[in-house]
C-alpha cells in the first residue's frame, strides 16, 4: 500500500471538539501524526488584557468548559498573588469544594464520552445522569450549570444555601455505589480489555520530556499531583491518596481516573464536614474599590494613577482534571492585568501525540485520544 495523509477532523466523531488530527497511514498502520489545533482559538489571553480582574472570570469558565471552576481557581490564585490579596479560610474551602466537584463532573463527562468511543453505549447514559446530579449541586450555590462565575478576587461570590451539605452527602453516597457499577461495566467486559490493554503506551520518561501531566503521567507510575506536591488552597489539610497505575496505557488511564473520582469523594466528605462546622465570611474585607464589587471605575482616568496600586507578578499552578494548569498574571498597577498567560495541560498532552500514536492502527485512535481527554477550549484558549 502507498502512504497517505488523512484528516481526522475538524468534524469527526473521534475529536470531541474542534481539532484536526492529520494521520499518515500505510494501510491500517499509523506512520506519523500531526495534530492541527487552533480551530477554537478565541484569543482569551488578549481579551483578558482589556478586562478588569473580575471580568476575566467569565472567560475562564469558557476557557475549559468541562472544568470551569478549576480554571477560575487557577486564575484567582494567580491574580490574588499579583494583587497582594488574601481570601478568608472559608472561601478557600469553598474553592476546594468547587474544584473537586468539577473534577468529578469532568471525569464523568470523560467517562461518558470515552466509553462510547470504545463501543459501549449505555455507560454514556449513566455518566451523564450522574454528572447532572453534580451540576445540580453546583447550580444550587453558584447559580449556573456550566459557566459559574462564582469565584471573585478575594473570595467567592456567595455562601452555601441551607441544607446543601446534607444533599451533598446523599449524592456522594450515590456516586460511590455507581463507581462499582462503572467498573463492572468496563473492567468486567472483554471488549474493554481487548480494545484498551497495551494501547497508547507512553512511559514515564517520555511523559516528563514532553511535558505530559495529569492522569496520563500518573498512569505511567509517577505519583505526581500538585495537590500533594505543591499544595495550594487548603489541600495540605486534607487527607487523600494519589491515584497511579503502572501500565501507562489506556486501561491505566481509566484506572487512574476512576480512582481519582473515589479520592475526590473522600476529599469532598472532609470539606463538607469542615464547612458544616466553620461558618464565616467568604469575601475578604480589605479590597480595593474596583475589586470589592464588580463595578467599573468611571470618570477621571487619573483615579488609578492616584491610587497607585503596587505592581506584582502572580503565578499559580493547579491540578486540573486534565493535568497541571498554570497561570502567570502580570499586574502593572492598572485596573486590567497587563498580561495573562495560561498553560493548559491538554496542550502538552496533545503535543506528545506522536509519541503515543505512531505504530498503532487507525482503529486505535479513538480509544487512545479518548483516554487523553481532550478539551479543545483550553488548548486553543
Amino acid at each position: 500500500m502507498s502512504e497517505m495523509w488523512i484528516n481526522m477532523g475538524p468534524q469527526h466523531p473521534m475529536t470531541h471538539g474542534l481539532w484536526n488530527l492529520r494521520v499518515k497511514i500505510d494501510g491500517e498502520m499509523i506512520l506519523d501524526v500531526d495534530p492541527e489545533m487552533g480551530y477554537l482559538h478565541r484569543g482569551i489571553e488578549k481579551i483578558s488584557e482589556d478586562r478588569h480582574y473580575n471580568e476575566v472570570i467569565t472567560l475562564m469558565d469558557r476557557c475549559c468548559y468541562v472544568a470551569g471552576l478549576a480554571w477560575e481557581h487557577l486564575y484567582i490564585i494567580a491574580s490574588e498573588e499579583a494583587l497582594h490579596l488574601e481570601a478568608p479560610e472559608r472561601a478557600l474551602y469553598l474553592r476546594v469544594l468547587c474544584e473537586e466537584f468539577q473534577r468529578l463532573a469532568s471525569h464523568l463527562m470523560w467517562y461518558a464520552a470515552f466509553v462510547q468511543d470504545i463501543g459501549l453505549m449505555s455507560p454514556f447514559l449513566y455518566g451523564m445522569r450522574d454528572r447532572d446530579l453534580i451540576l445540580d449541586l453546583l447550580q444550587s450555590y453558584t447559580g449556573a450549570r456550566m459557566t459559574y462565575e462564582y469565584m471573585r478576587v478575594g473570595g467567592v461570590r456567595s455562601d452555601l444555601p441551607p441544607g446543601f451539605t446534607d444533599r451533598t452527602r446523599k449524592v456522594l453516597d450515590w456516586l460511590n455505589a455507581r463507581f462499582v457499577e462503572y467498573d463492572q461495566l468496563c473492567l468486567g467486559s472483554d471488549i474493554f480489555h481487548k480494545r484498551c490493554d497495551g494501547l497508547g503506551i507512553l512511559k514515564a520518561n517520555d511523559c516528563v520530556a514532553h511535558g505530559v501531566t495529569g492522569p496520563m503521567l500518573r498512569s505511567a507510575g509517577v505519583p505526581r499531583d500538585l495537590r500533594r506536591d505543591r499544595p495550594y488552597a487548603v489541600y495540605d489539610q486534607l487527607e487523600f491518596d494519589i491515584a497511579h497505575a503502572d501500565t501507562a496505557d489506556v486501561t491505566g488511564r481509566y484506572l487512574v481516573r476512576m480512582e481519582e473520582m473515589r479520592q475526590s469523594l473522600r476529599i469532598l466528605r472532609q470539606v463538607v464536614d469542615w464547612l458544616d462546622r466553620h461558618p464565616g465570611p467568604v469575601m475578604a474585607d480589605q479590597l480595593p474599590r474596583w475589586l470589592g464589587a464588580p463595578y467599573a471605575p468611571v470618570g477621571n482616568e487619573g483615579y488609578l494613577l492616584k491610587r497607585h496600586y503596587p505592581k506584582g507578578l502572580g503565578f499559580s499552578a493547579v491540578e486540573e482534571p486534565h493535568g497541571e494548569a498554570q497561570a502567570y498574571v502580570v499586574n502593572e498597577g492598572g485596573e486590567h492585568p497587563y498580561r495573562v498567560k495560561f498553560r493548559s495541560p491538554v496542550f502538552a498532552n496533545i503535543s506528545a501525540a506522536r509519541q503515543y500514536l505512531i505504530g498503532y492502527r487507525v482503529a486505535d485512535i479513538p480509544p487512545i485520544m479518548g483516554s487523553v481527554d481532550v478539551c479543545v477550549g483550553e488548548v486553543d484558549r
Binding site: 505530559v212 503565578f315 502567570y328 496542550f347
Partner: protein, 158 residues
C-alpha cells in the same frame, strides 16, 4: 531550594551572563539571564539542578523590549523555577529550548505566532493556533481589538 542554591550552581558556569536570581513567591526563584546564554543555561538547569520538566514558555511585550519566560519543574525539589530573558523588540530572537526539553516545541510555536519571538533552530516553527499566513502578532500591545461599538455598526441585524 532557595535562590541562593540556584545561583550557586549556575553562577560559576555562566558568569556575567547570569544577571540575577531573584526570590519569587512560591517558586525556587526567578533566574534572569542574557539571551545569548540560553544554550549553556538550559542543560545546566535540567541536569545539574534537576528541573527536568518544562511546563510553559511564554512571552511578554514590554513595548520597548520583550521578555521570554520559561517555567520548569523539579520532581525532586517539588518546586518551580522561572527563567526569563529580555530580547530587544527590533530583533526578538532567542535560542530554542526544544533541544533540551522536547515539550518546548509547541509552546515556542505559540509564543512565536502570538508574541512574535523568533526561536533559532526550532525544528518546526509553523502556525499553531492562528491560520497559516496570519501576519499579525495579537499579543503585542500595539495590536488592538475591535471596539464593541464599531463591531455593532458592522454587524447590525435588526
Amino acid at each position: 531550594m532557595q535562590p541562593d542554591d540556584v545561583s550557586r550552581v549556575l553562577a560559576p558556569a555562566l558568569g556575567p551572563k547570569l544577571l540575577a536570581v531573584e526570590p519569587f513567591a512560591g517558586m525556587a526563584g526567578r533566574v534572569r539571564f542574557e539571551r545569548g546564554a540560553a544554550l549553556e543555561l538550559f542543560p545546566r538547569v535540567r541536569d545539574d539542578l534537576g528541573f527536568r520538566h518544562l511546563s510553559m514558555v511564554g512571552g511578554i511585550d514590554w513595548v520597548d523590549h520583550r521578555e521570554v519566560f520559561y517555567v520548569v519543574w523539579s520532581d525532586a525539589a517539588h518546586q518551580y523555577l522561572l527563567l526569563s530573558t529580555d530580547v530587544p523588540a527590533d530583533n526578538p530572537r532567542v535560542e530554542t529550548a526544544s533541544g533540551v526539553w522536547p515539550s518546548a516545541n509547541w509552546h515556542e510555536r505559540e509564543t512565536w505566532e502570538l508574541v512574535g519571538i523568533e526561536f533559532d533552530n526550532h525544528p518546526d516553527l509553523r502556525h499553531l493556533l492562528t491560520p497559516d499566513g496570519y501576519e499579525f502578532r495579537p499579543l503585542l500591545r500595539s495590536f488592538k481589538l475591535h471596539e464593541p461599538e464599531e463591531l455593532e455598526v458592522k454587524t447590525r441585524h435588526v
